[in-house]
Amino acid sequence: MAGLAAKFGSGAMTNSVAEIETAKALLVIGSNTTENHPIIALRMKEAVRKGAKLIVADPRKIPLTKFATLWLRHKPGTDSVLLNAMMNVILAEGLEDKNFINERTEGFAEFADSLKEFTPEMAEPITGVPAEDIRKAARIYAEAENAGIYYAMGITQHVMGTNNVHAVGNLAMLTGNLGKPGAGVNPLRGQNNVQGACDMGSLPNVYPGYQKVDSPEVQKKFEAAWGKPLSSKIGLPASLMTEAMIEGKLKGMYIFGENPALSDPNTHHAVKGFESLEFLVVQDIFNTETTDLADVVLPSASFAEKTGTFTCSERRIQKVRPAIASPGEAREDLAVISEIYQRLNGEAVTVPDPEAVFAEVASLWPGISGVSYERLEEESLQWPCPSADHPGTPYLFKEMFPREGGKAQFTVVPRVISSELPDTEYPYLLTTGRELFHYHTGTMTRRSTGLDAVAPTAFIEINPADALKLGIADGDQVNVSSRRGTIKLPTRVSEIVPPEVVFIPFHYKEASANKLTSDALDPICKIMEAKVCAVRIEK
């Protein structure tokens, strides 16, 4: 979320899910919302029923296109060009919000200049979207009284992910769709507590509440709070750790509640990394591809067995309460982590109290200093919530942006090309994602009889035209190979994917899409390009 943070000073959904119903226009790009955020999608459908115009930009004919006023089927990896072209139209037709631009943004002149080349006609061959549709989309979005943008990994998991996020932000700024209900820039978080993990400082560059590790006064503040000297050196992002392991710079790793050996793009490489470690600790509720590589595996409690809080996409902090006891000797992650912490610190081991831990966070991050377990018993709160009597914040940036000068920053977004595009050797463009009936690496959903019954196997979606070309019938087993690996799985011949593009869900370990995907990195936020790579298909 580095992109948004840079522009607005904060990286999270600017608005609330409930507000979606009030939007007059919606732009959903790089998000298969009905399958990945089903309940947020309900609000989108509600908005459409209430008369909102819905623009869906997605290479795949995702279910939401059924409800769309306009569906832009752009080629994978061309999001920012599409968005730039929309903005080109907005300026050309004078649809921008001049007041907002003057009063609440900076860097417009240079930015506007950069858009000149991105005419719809220039974008058409690149994106595959007819120029006229780009114009339509621009008008629908810009003319709406309030319009929200909703996106997910389809925007970020690219080498130009940060650019895409900037482009999205630019579009909202250009039309003044920030700081009011039913508008904004809204990244939909893929996992239950992605927002929380970021908020809590599980990032190499910031402490809890996005306080920078390389800022001396922040460092002082936390040294005081934790009573230990702290490093001001920005740490390694996950995506660089693999390389560091292989190079032997990283010797020991502690992983909990994740399964990177299956979810990382180019898993061969990732596995190689873990294998070259001197010591690997993995903490999880099941054996996974990652625990298989561990030296120590620690059994932990599921969400139904622990006390704590989750923070969902819309910055809403909510209680998690235990319903049952953990099986066997499994323990709450908090207890385990805290014991290791205390013993490394040479302190006496005590049983941690989640409420006390949360209070400690609240004391260190002004953004939630008004939030307490006491309040969370009664309600759920959206940060910022600076004081005990503060009702929480449904949408951000009403008055100002939390940056020096309080203004939002326009960013020039040049055209970047995906690191690996189809060629004669690997003629198909593979994009990956989730399906409704499974979640992430399937460790949970594939253990649910019903879900496993409706979605038992991996598959590769391929357009009828291509199937015909390759002489493949629906259900045929095929070998799919990229420069990084090969997997075997059945085909699903479907018009959901356009010609020359194929799709594989990454839930299935027996045919792991991430054996194929590329780990090329976005230069700024170091995200891996999971959404675009080139593959070959053989019968």
Binding site: P204, A238, K249, Y439, M444
Partner: protein, 348 residues
């Protein structure tokens, strides 16, 4: 705003409100079977009928717009007689097998039968025979228990936008089914199950588990995607027996197939129940005590820090786990170990 009186009590409501909404505002209870504030009114069950001054006959309060100066009566001998007959008619075409019905105790029809004290039925006669078994993995459909309230049809169309089911046929034989009466093949969100007032729709995985006796309810937050839905875990001892969601929360009681039906992993046989240690490289993971496991971790981390410096250690936190755990984890790395090599998989 509009002012009207209901049972001689005055109430003010916004224009466009229905008489039923006005009555709810006064906490006046009017029986309903086909009403749900989250969907369009239907006016089919005829239980919410009220008398309104100046209107020839009773009208359904769920469909009648409140108007300035209306005088409404929600109960009278006549209304109660009509309501009783309606319930009695419904029961005359209902299996009445509450003893073994999964909805017993949370069934609106059962409550109404009790309220109107219907023991024997004046209208015994032919009953529908919609006994088709639906083989889908999630949703149990017992159409003989269907009262045609239409809530499932409306939720599937108005809320889920799928319209996987609809009405078919007409008159006494009218029923609700998927096109050409095939097995359900939908998103299996289970919204329909959550709104069904009788045992016509339930979850197959509920079967056999206690309905209420000994079941504890726990309010918590869903563990799947970033929507953050509020859910209620039903548990008996250490087993999760059902997931539901209250209608007054921010997700309005709506859940997806994973949130509603994807809870079996919690009680899975595969759960890790004891620490495991790989005692020599290439060897197998073997059970160990917590003491042994944690000591090993602490020693190893200390040793590596000793030998290669704090930055030779790194941690991956979890977007699946709680804020408290994530906080503690990064604190562990930053202060106890002394490196900022901590990240999580948010980006994937």
């Amino acid at each position: 705003m509009i002012t009207l009186t209901i049972d001689n009590k005055t109430v003010e409501v916004v224009k466009g409100s229905t008489v039923l909404e006005a009555a709810k505002k006064l906490k006046i209870d009017i029986p309903t079977l086909c009403y749900d504030s989250r969907m369009k009114p239907h006016g089919a069950c005829r239980l919410c009928i009220v008398e309104i001054e100046g209107m020839r006959r009773p009208v359904t309060s769920c469909t009648t717009p409140a108007e300035q100066g209306m005088a409404v009566t929600t109960t009278s001998a006549h209304l109660e007689r009509l309501r009783k007959t309606t319930v009695e008619l419904l029961l005359s075409d209902h299996p009445n097998d509450c003893m073994v019905c999964i909805r017993a105790g949370s069934c609106t029809l059962q409550e109404l039968a009790y309220k109107y004290g219907i023991r024997e039925n004046r209208f015994g006669g032919a009953m529908r025979d919609h006994n088709r078994v639906d083989e889908n993995p999630f949703i149990m459909r017992e159409q003989n228990k269907c009262v045609l309230c239409g809530l499932c049809v409306r939720v599937c169309e108005e809320v889920q936008g799928v319209s996987a089911i609809g009405y078919a046929g007409r008159g006494f034989e009218a029923k609700i089914c998927s096109p050409f009466e095939h097995d359900l093949n939908c998103e299996f969100c289970g919204q329909c199950v959550s709104v069904c007032p009788t045992g016509a729709l339930s979850a197959k995985m509920w079967a056999g588990h206690p309905r209420h006796e000994g079941v504890e309810l726990t309010e918590t937050t869903c563990t799947y995607c970033g929507c953050g839905c509020n859910i209620t875990l039903h548990s008996l001892g250490n087993e999760i027996t059902r997931v539901s969601s209250r209608t007054d929360n921010h997700n309005r009681g709506w859940l997806c197939v994973k949130g509603r039906f994807g809870y079996e992993f919690i009680n899975s046989e595969d759960r890790l129940t004891t620490p495991l240690i790989r005692r020599e490289k290439g060897g197998a993971l073997e059970p160990a005590s917590w003491e042994e496991a944690i000591s090993l971790v602490v020693d190893k981390f200390s040793a590596i820090k000793e030998k290669h410096g704090a930055d030779a250690l790194g941690g991956l936190a979890s977007a699946r786990c709680t804020n408290e755990e994530n906080y503690m984890f990064q604190k562990l790395f930053r202060s106890a170990i002394g490196t900022n090599n901590v990240d999580h998989c948010a980006r994937y």
